[in-house]
């Protein structure tokens, strides 16, 4: 039992591997932000396509969203990393990480955005059309601004999800925090201790992110609405 408790004495491992851990963390955070950025934009476009597009477009968007959300992220990464090379497309682990996570993120963001779009009341459309606004104007200036505000809680939740799931980069070898951790552990054989350090780092980053997000959400609220 005493030996188990000493598993939590991690300071020296942390200090001696600080540079490598920080490098992994930097990759993780960069990956998260880039994926969120492109994934959200792409997701909004998908949601618009699904809600307003002509039948074939709407169907395609729906199929994309349901298929990606209905299959594991890891399977999607594997397809990109292990299946494509047979067709001559050989992406690096880093590229696979960026593309794969973005594709996944877009599907989820699309679903959240669609929910918000559908919650914009019919009276909003009625008013806009009565003023002589065309459909695209109504979508751009009346529906989207409201739908996006409604989506923000879900979007920020997604940020936390992506942050956590970037750890999957470990499995394909992209140099994120977990991969660096594996590298360290494979040399000092302190698997539990190293991964425990990683866990604490994730915990701290997630708590900080959540705190920042809450502050931002409060700032951008429409007075009295939502």
């Amino acid at each position: 039992m005493l030996e188990f408790l000493t598993e939590f004495m991690i300071i020296d491992i942390f200090v001696s591997n600080f540079a490598r851990l920080m490098s992994g963390l930097r990759f993780t955070i960069t990956l998260t932000f880039v994926v969120m950025f492109f994934g959200t934009i792409f997701g909004v476009l998908l949601a618009l396509g699904r809600s307003y597009g002509i039948k074939p477009v709407s169907w395609l968007c729906t199929a994309y969203i349901e298929l990606i959300r209905g299959t594991p992220m890891l399977a999607q990464l594997f397809i990109l990393y292990f299946a494509l090379p047979a067709y001559g497309i050989r992406f690096s682990a880093v590229t696979v990480a960026y593309i794969g996570f973005t594709i996944n993120c877009a599907a989820y963001q699309a679903e959240y955005t669609r929910g918000s779009i559908e919650s914009v009341g019919a009276d909003q459309y009625k008013s806009a059309y009565s003023l002589g606004m065309k459909r695209w104007q109504t979508i751009l200036f009346v529906v989207l601004p409201q739908a996006i505000r409604w989506s923000i809680p879900a979007w920020t939740n997604e940020f936390i999800y992506i942050l956590k799931y970037t750890s999957l980069a470990y499995i394909i070898g992209a140099p994120d925090l977990m991969t660096q951790g594996k590298f360290i552990a494979s040399r000092n054989y302190q698997f539990f201790r190293v991964y425990f350090i990683a866990a604490i780092i994730y915990l701290i980053i997630v708590l900080i992110s959540t705190w920042i997000i809450d502050k931002l959400e409060a700032k951008f609220k429409i007075p009295g609405f939502g």
């Binding site: 909003q124 009625k126 008013s127 059309y129 002589g132 009346v142």
Partner: protein, 254 residues
């Protein structure tokens, strides 16, 4: 002051069904410039549908709607026509994400392509007209029902329409707030706006309208001046309905 021949709004034989439900069965009437008409009748008789057909939010199955020289049911530039018709309805429909001022400005900027500064001036003028200069920067959720409806009216007026449609504008308001909206509407009428109003507010109808149209089951049962309608209705159905209203609301609102 009429400067052209023929009515501003002319509706001929309007027909509309929703599924098996024949909601409008040959509605015909007209409005001259500056006239105000009120449509009354039991719920579900298609009164709102008439208004919704005029700005083609609902597409009629038959009949014609003429706004001056343009036939609305078949026209290809409905968005331009809608700019000529102001529409105020029960749920207000204010854009939640915009302040009162920006609600009024949106149509000017995006539809009429008015430059921002001009749009702002015009919007402020309209909001002043409805008595809401003090809530320019408030959001809809912060306003009372009466204020919301007045913003909706200002928003419609900002487009400088030829015709204003009101679909039960006060039905969703608490009693003490109804007056402020009816006052705005009365002022509009006095200033010569052509108005078509669906309402239960009999006091308003008597005070302001040139003609009252009683609709039931998709048809116009009777139309006459307020005095005649209330004192000597011809049709027994009209008499029945007015009696019922009398029981419920008393003779005339404010």
């Amino acid at each position: 002051m009429k400067d052209r021949d023929g009515p501003l709004l002319n509706i001929k034989g309007l027909k509309k069904s929703f599924g098996d439900n024949l909601v409008l069965d040959g509605i015909s009437f007209s409005l001259d410039t500056g006239e105000n008409k009120v449509i009354i009748g039991p719920s579900g008789t298609g009164k709102s549908t008439v208004l919704n057909c005029i700005n083609r939010l609902v597409v009629p199955d038959g009949g014609e709607i003429w706004l001056e020289d343009t036939e609305i049911v078949s026209c290809s530039n409905i968005n331009e026509i809608r700019q000529e018709i102001g529409y105020v309805f029960q749920g207000f429909g204010l854009f939640h994400h915009l302040t009162a001022l920006r609600n009024v400005m949106l149509g000017l900027i995006r539809v009429k392509k008015t430059p921002k500064n001009e749009a702002k001036e015009q919007a402020i003028a309209k909001l002043e007209q409805v008595g809401l200069l003090d809530v320019l920067d408030s959001y809809p959720a912060q306003l009372s029902g009466g204020q919301k409806q007045r913003v909706a009216i200002a928003r419609a007026l900002a487009m400088e329409p030829k015709l204003m449609l009101f679909d039960e504008p006060t039905s969703a308001l608490d009693p003490e707030l109804i007056g402020e909206v009816l006052n705005v509407m009365k002022n509009l009428a006095r200033e010569g706006m052509t108005m078509l109003v669906v309402t239960h507010e009999m006091g308003f109808a008597r005070a302001v309208s040139d003609e009252i149209i009683f609709m039931e089951k998709g048809k116009i049962v009777e139309k006459s001046s307020p005095e005649k309608m209330f004192e000597q209705p011809e049709n027994p159905r009209t008499r029945e309905f007015l009696f019922k209203l009398d029981e419920l609301y008393g003779k005339g609102g404010e």
